[in-house]
């Protein structure tokens, strides 16, 4: 992965997050009712949030830890 590739990937994650964490997508999950005991919106935010963290960790991992 070149520096440029990594930059593009990180910017993509940023843009993805901006989309997922803003209206109107957020409002899709802003519904009453519980899912497995938790509010739907609560699920949505924390799952997406965790996903973004995992993606960032994967893309930003230091060069020497990479397999390729």
């Amino acid at each position: 992965m070149t520096t440029n590739d990594r930059s593009l990937k990180l910017i993509s994650i940023f843009l993805l997050g901006v989309m997922l964490f803003n209206f109107p997508l957020v409002s899709l999950f802003s519904r009453e009712g519980l899912l497995l005991g938790l509010p739907k919106l609560y699920w949505y935010f924390f799952v997406v949030w965790g996903g973004i963290i995992a993606l960032t960790a994967w893309v930003a991992r230091p060069a020497k830890a990479k397999k390729d």
Partner: protein
Amino acid sequence: MQPILIISISIGYVALLFFIAWIADKREAAGKSIVKNPAIYALSMAVYCTAWTFYGSVGRAATTGLGFLPTYLGPALLAPVWWLLLKKIILISKSQRITSIADFISSRYGKSTFLGVIATLVAVLGIIPYISIQLKAISSSFDLLVGQATASHANVPFYLDTALYITIALAAFTILFGTRNLDPNERHGGLVAAIAFESLLKLVAFLAIGLFVTFGLYDGFGDIFSKGAAVPSIRALFTLESAGLNGWEWFWLLFLSMSAVMLLPRQFHVAVVENTNAAHVSRASWMFPLYLLLINIFVLPIAVAGLMMFPEGGVEPDSYVLSIPLAAGYETLALFVALGGFSAATSMVIVAVIALSIMIVNNLVLPGIVRNQDFRQDNPYSISSSLLGIRRVCIILVLLLAYAYFKAVGEQYSLVSVGLISFTAIAQFVPAVLGGIYWKRATKKGAIWGLSIGFLIWAFCLPFPTLVETGLVNDRVMAEGLFGWGLLQPYALFGLSGYSPVANAAFWSLALNTFAYIIVSLNTQQSPLEISQADLFVDIYKYRSGGNEYEVMRRRARVRDIRILMNRFLGVARSQSLLTAYENRNRVDLSRQQTAEANLINYAETHLAGAIGAASAKIIIGSIAKEDPISLEEMFKVLEQTKEIVEYSKALEKKSAELERTTLQLKQANEQLKELDRLKADFITTVTHELRTPITSIKALSKIMLDNRNMPEEQRAEFLSIVVTESERLTRLINQVLDLEKIQSQPEDLKLEPLDLAEVARQAFNGLRQLMRDKGIVPELIIKDAPVPVYGNFDRLTQVVVNLLSNAIKFADDEKGQVHLRCYQGAKGGYIEVQDNGPGISPRDQELIFEKFTQISDSDKGKPQGSGLGLFITHTIVSQHRGRLSVESEPAMGATFKVTLPLYSEKQSNGVPPPEQ
């Protein structure tokens, strides 16, 4: 709980912090630093989580549900691009030895003193409300623990107010902590370690109370939420719309927190100034969001639990975190949680106040002090200790201001609403910083205008109304607008209403700030120093890799003066070690030099900037150096040179790309040539083969006749006739090869003119009529009287018809041969059709017959007749006339060859496209 217990625990905690800092400093001095790792770096960034997070989030969640989250989602969103954004800022700051966010902005725009003053004012005035909420949080948690009803601090005389004593204690603590080192320039390894520890403690404390509420008081998440969902007012918190949040508010909350996490003075301090290695950013970019996620998981459950435990109100939601364990009778847990809150608040206060005091000293106080002084006099008294003195005074001042704000207004507002006022102020730095590192054209004046306008709008829209409500300002302004102008109402500026004050203020201040920044930048010029600083900031990677620093100013100074200056501002020991390092690196002996070279002056300025800020360093170096600033033209020349090098390498790249393309083209051409060569060789092989057959037969027969003189006459005649036939065949073949060569090699010789296709058909037909009759074929010519006008070469087209007719004759039925020649004008062109009643051509052969040397062998007729070139020549000629040659045939049903030629009309007589080459 006894106040004395709480106080002694707090003091014990502070002592622990000092111990940690002491250990860290010791380890650092021994070269075994514990703070130089990404995890500590990420934890120190978690100074972002203050009492706002610890107490305020739950309070916010109790009123707007998940509306507390954008404050943490914003940083989490931005973290992935830290690797680009934050790393660039860190690299710039390291190369320029930047000391604060105000210093960063001032340095970028030509080390402007004025801009530094404005940025410092924005930062200090913007952050004071933020510090005040920490005081509020500490004092109210103290009140709760000792069991006092949350009495209003506003009505208590100040000397009886616990908040004042807390403020004083914090000031003392911060002074001891932040100004321990005599050298203000050094990194605070101990501070970072203590902050990281505090971050860990507040996370553990918050998780403890979260687990206690969720799994101790209730039966897990499901239990809390299902019980909460039964209450309509609580159920409303599970969606955003019913909690009063829309997309516009949401967006601004995200935006504000995104700017805050990088530009708040304390965030800038831990993330940039205290950074030990820019590579740590990549780990921190997921560790820090993870920290935020963890500390937020239990916020909503605690808020829901609090609302259920205190349904009739009376308990401030901001204090649920403490009230819940206290009400449940768990005092020890409450104490531990309060300690977590204390650590959250103190870490923010310490770092924020240190960062602000550095800013105030370097950008506000020092430029004024050093401006008109002569530092050339050798003075044993080092100014660095007095710098620390000034810094201590600043710390006290900032904290007292925060206390005053708390006393005056802070108490009536929730923690988060006051915190957001500060976020909006800090967001005013966004255009100047972002533009500063990506847009070279941005000028000092643009930044000054943008920042000032944004700041004024902020001040009018957010803190000003809070003063109105305390009675300090007439409340008519709120309803009628400033000076009675309806458009100037703080909460409905320019008539925009219907949104929260924060969203409104953020929108107007940032929109006009950015607009002014861009417009003014485009209409003002940069000074040479601005140009060079802009280049350095925007293209930092170029300078890091190439190391090509150009000389901004031609400055001359005496080595002695520089030494005196460094002694005074950095202390003798440090300045001596810096100068020795310089001597070693550049292999010079400064004691032998009288005049300092530009290198040394720059070196001294950068290191002085690390202690006193870029603007002040520029002023004091200016006081000892004789300066011939490079003229604008020269500056451009220098920039032009670096630009030229870049362009040159770009040109080289382009050239090599071109070369590659040419090579590719050559390769392709070569392939084509090889292919042609192969075709030619094939052609020659086939032609010679074709030639050899008749020659062999002629040779053999002639030899037989030569050897057998007394051969019977009839046999000799038969042989001779075969020889003649074979010779004719040879001649025909040679003629056709020559024809083909001529047709293919000189298509430009083809003279095209308007002609009547029917006439061509008639002539060709008449020429061959006798031959056909001789062969017993019934010929038929079907043409109308009207001419068929086409554009072509008469001789060539005749050849086409003759070829097709000969072909038909050759294949026509032996017994009842029939050949029809039709010529007519159709919708799409002029047509010639030649039909025979021969054996026909199989579909497979139909594809091949127009190729060179294709001969259809026929088992009945044995050896094929003809050269195999006839149809190929015909096809070539027709193509050169932009026409089409096709065949329709079924086995045993004869074959029809059809030539289609474009019609000629008078109108386009000039515009007829030339035949295909």
